[in-house]
């Protein structure tokens, strides 16, 4: 990666901070039932500038860009493009204003060709209003050429492309409607190393053409490599704006993490028992590459890593959603083969998934039925559900996790994120598991609920439960874990004892930047 001096030299000229900003948002507020997503965010992007948005999950980055790209409407605040005050009713408005967004989950038509995907919705026409395929193909080739992309052809079917190439198609689509502001949401999260390099080249080209870019990433090294300025969000609020040339990763991490480590509920030291979960050289292509770990009774092992580093995939392999290709899983020393979540549950493995609404809960169903979901087998005799027992279970759950709900009949879809998460947790604990895997246990929930869940976790550990916690929030990892494992590209790259797990060291290891060798590589 180029050195800072070189970077500033290159980006100094087009850095039109003084020039009229391309985009200027001010005092953006947005809240959802149960959560305050954004409180008064303001920032601007100049032509030819790469403006990075930094922040942990749930900090409000995604909400912000969804507002800028017209998916959400802000509760208050203004959006100016070229000084014109605009109200975006629908994504199309933003598009017309020259704003294009490349989401993490690429929005493409897998059955259609590259050219069609690029020009869908604004294709060139012949005099007779027919699609002009020749023209379309020509312009596609031109676009490809302009970005030196040679392994893509206009006629290819998008469904068959690599993730990197599909992303390029999205970028081309944005350019084809000559977007002047490009929003990239974690563009590298899913990319292989060489794809990342090519993405950088493309971003630099766009820069030099005066395209403004909002670049969202967790990876500090990328921000230093690409961005001119960086705005840091925390809990929906703007905590600082820095010019990249004048800041350091330490400062940024500090901004992101803030001083919250102290006011987190710390894990109470509990006596560690015998190993409960042991994983040996577990392989599940493509995301999990020979992983080994051990979790002991009463221990909380934190699994740090960036989105796309393979943490959730590992968890789901242990849980049997995507059974392992090879490797061993031992439960309390006994080797087991987990081929489905059903078997996993039977073995006493519990998994609180990262995506609450699609994987964790049945939103249209009641609190009662969600609580008992994982326990039906023991709640029923001869297939018949013991309603009394089921209701007691749910009541206890509501009481124990202080779930705020009007009744057991309440539809969970209507509850706040925090209460929903408590129910998912309760659903699994009701099945009293031996090993609990938590995937982003406090994502997108308010601080109060967060604290409660953390207290609960250490309480459970105290009772001898083995917990494997995946989290993208450093303070959470650091605050809660007895041990921190850092995962990158499907492998463990570092392990820290609680004592020497500092934000800087762990953060660095996660991002693979300088200092990755801190901590004993495993």
């Amino acid at each position: 990666m180029p050195s800072p001096q070189h970077r500033t030299a290159e980006t100094a000229s087009p850095l039109g901070v003084k020039g009229k900003p391309l985009l200027k948002v001010a005092g953006i507020e947005k809240s959802f039932p149960g959560v305050r997503a954004l409180s008064g965010v303001s920032f601007e992007v100049a032509p030819g500038e790469v403006h990075a948005l930094l922040g942990e999950n749930g900090a409000g980055k995604s909400t912000l860009i969804k507002i800028i790209s017209g998916v959400y409407r802000p509760d208050s605040g203004s959006i100016h493009v070229d000084g014109r005050d605009l109200r975006f009713e629908k994504p199309d408005d933003a598009r017309k204003a020259g704003i294009a967004t490349i989401y993490q989950e690429l929005l493409l038509f897998p059955e259609l060709t590259v050219a069609e995907n690029i020009f869908m919705g604004h294709a060139p026409r012949t005099r007779f209003g027919q699609l002009d395929w020749a023209e379309m193909r020509a312009r596609t080739e031109a676009l490809l050429g302009s970005l030196d992309i040679h392994d893509l052809a206009a006629a290819q079917i998008v469904g068959a492309l690599s993730v990197g190439n599909r992303q390029r198609v999205e970028i081309l689509r944005a350019l084809s409607q000559d977007a002047r502001l490009l929003i990239m949401d974690e563009p590298t999260a899913a990319l292989a190393e060489h794809d990342v390099k090519r993405l950088f080249e493309i971003v630099r080209r766009l820069k030099s053409r005066g395209v403004g870019i909002i670049y969202i990433s967790h990876r500090l090294d990328e921000i230093f490599a690409l961005a001119d300025r960086v705005t840091v969000l925390r809990d929906g609020a703007q905590v600082g704006m820095r010019r990249v040339a004048e800041t350091s990763s330490a400062e940024l991490v500090q901004l992101m993490v803030g001083r919250r480590i102290e006011n987190l509920f710390p894990k109470i030291a509990a006596p560690l028992g015998a190993p409960v979960l042991e994983v040996r050289d577990l392989v599940r292509r493509p995301m999990t590459k020979s992983v080994s770990l051990t979790v002991r009774a009463g221990e909380i092992v934190g699994l740090a890593g960036l989105v796309g580093s393979g943490r959730s995939e590992l968890a789901q392999t242990v849980f049997g959603v995507t059974p392992a290709d090879s490797g061993k899983i031992l439960l309390s020393g006994r080797e087991v083969r987990v081929r489905s979540p059903r078997e996993a549950r039977a073995f006493g493995i519990a998994y609180v998934p990262e995506d609450r609404s699609t994987q964790g809960l049945v939103r249209p169903m009641s609190v009662l039925h969600n609580f008992s979901l994982a326990s039906l087998s023991w709640l029923s005799r001869g297939g018949f559900i013991d309603r009394a027992a089921e209701e007691t279970l749910a009541r206890d759950g509501v009481a124990r996790f202080s779930v705020k709900t009007s009744s057991l009949g309440q539809i969970v879809g209507r509850l706040s994120g925090g209460n929903q998460q408590k129910i998912v947790l309760g659903k699994w604990l009701a099945n009293d598991p031996k090993i609990l895997i938590l995937d982003e246990p406090t994502r997108g929930i308010d601080v109060g609920a967060k604290a409660e869940i953390h207290r609960l976790m250490s309480e459970l550990a105290g009772q001898g439960l083995a917990i494997l916690m995946i989290s993208s929030e450093l303070p959470e990892v650091l605050g809660m874990s007895d041990r921190v494992l850092v995962m990158r590209e499907g492998r463990f790259v570092a392990e820290f004892a609680r004592a020497d797990a500092t934000p800087q060291a762990v953060g660095a290891a996660m991002m693979g930047g300088e200092g990755a060798e801190a901590g004993r590589p495993t």
Binding site: L107, A123, Q130, Q156, G159, A160, A192
Partner: protein, 332 residues
């Protein structure tokens, strides 16, 4: 991490050929294959007369299948098409007998078709009721309505000029075949070269993305149903003008035959792919097989079994094929 089990470019070029070629080529092969097989058994089968009769007698299915393909591509289904054709045939015939100008007798059914289908499309798109329910309901409404209005009285003494299907352009080119080919060609071109045509694929393939591209899935669905209604109208004309009598009842199992043609034609049920050329070829194939079964002395009662097996085979093959081709997409 490269999520792709096979190198992106080569595999995809491979699949381009597959996409454009496979279904149509396969069907063309099947058509020829059956012809030869049966021809060996009884050479008369290959007589131009017989082949053209097969086309003449079934062109209306092919025409109806064009619209059905669009419906399925857009991610919907229509069970009411058979009844609608019955209704429109009756309207057209009654008008002709009542002495309305032929143009009216031919034109009105088309309009009725468009309106009825557009209505259904609107219910599906805006009231968000699955097309299966809407069209099942419409099926019985039309069926019952037709009989209670006409009392099933046959329509006879149709004016000579009414018989569209009997017209032979330049004395050689029979109208049904002409309409079938022209309709197919136009539809195919429209779906390939017009933005609206492509938007059908987009809506069927990925509604969310379509929306973000400024395409309104709702409007697209209504449009598709309306177009389907138009083709159903044309089909009804061919159906009505073929014989000197119009039964003014609903042709049994017609919807099933039409859906079969569309599906066997390579229209993917998962929405988003397929061509009307395929559906037309499939319609021809089905008709050919029906005739072949007689030629090789098989009870036509097996025709449904064959149809069912064909849909099944095609759908399964299609799904497996897509699963393989989209493996890359699925792993992420």
């Amino acid at each position: 991490m490269s999520a792709i089990p096979f190198p992106g470019v080569r595999a995809s070029e491979h699949s381009v050929i597959r996409m454009l070629g496979s279904q149509e080529a396969l069907l063309a092969l099947a058509i020829i294959g059956v012809a030869i097989l049966v021809g060996l058994d009884n050479a008369r089968f290959l007589a131009t007369r017989n082949l053209s009769d097969i086309l003449l007698g079934n062109a209306y299915v092919a025409v109806a299948a064009i619209g059905m393909s669009m419906i399925i591509i857009s991610g919907n289904i229509d069970i009411s098409v058979g009844s609608l054709i019955g209704v429109m045939a009756t309207i057209s015939g009654s008008l002709a007998v009542a002495g309305a100008p032929i143009v009216v007798a031919w034109g009105l059914p088309l309009i009725v078709g468009v309106l009825v289908m557009a209505l259904q499309g609107a219910i599906v798109a805006y009231l968000r009721i699955p097309s299966i329910v809407v069209t099942l309901g419409m099926l019985s409404i039309l069926k019952g309505g037709l009989i209670s209005v006409t009392g099933g009285k046959w329509i006879t003494d149709l004016p000579e000029s009414f018989h569209l299907a009997d017209i032979e352009l330049f004395g050689i080119l029979p109208m049904p075949v002409l309409l079938m080919t022209v309709a197919t060609a136009l539809a195919a071109i429209w779906m390939r070269y017009s933005a609206r045509g492509r938007s059908i694929y987009a809506t069927g393939g990925n509604p969310e993305a379509a929306r973000l591209c400024g395409i309104s899935p709702q409007r697209t669905v209504v449009m598709v149903f309306a177009i389907h209604g138009f083709f159903a109208g044309v089909a009804a004309l061919l159906f009505a003008t073929q014989l000197k009598v119009i039964q003014s009842t609903v042709p049994p199992n017609l919807e099933l035959t039409v859906i079969t043609a569309a599906v066997v034609g390579g229209v993917s049920i998962l929405g988003g792919v397929g061509t009307v050329v395929g559906s037309t070829l499939a319609a021809v194939l089905i008709a050919e097989i029906a005739s072949a079964l007689v030629f090789i002395n098989v009870s036509p009662y097996w025709i449904h079994a064959v149809q069912g097996a064909m849909i099944l085979a095609t759908v399964v093959a299609d799904i497996l094929r897509r699963r393989r081709r989209l493996a890359g997409a699925l792993t992420r």
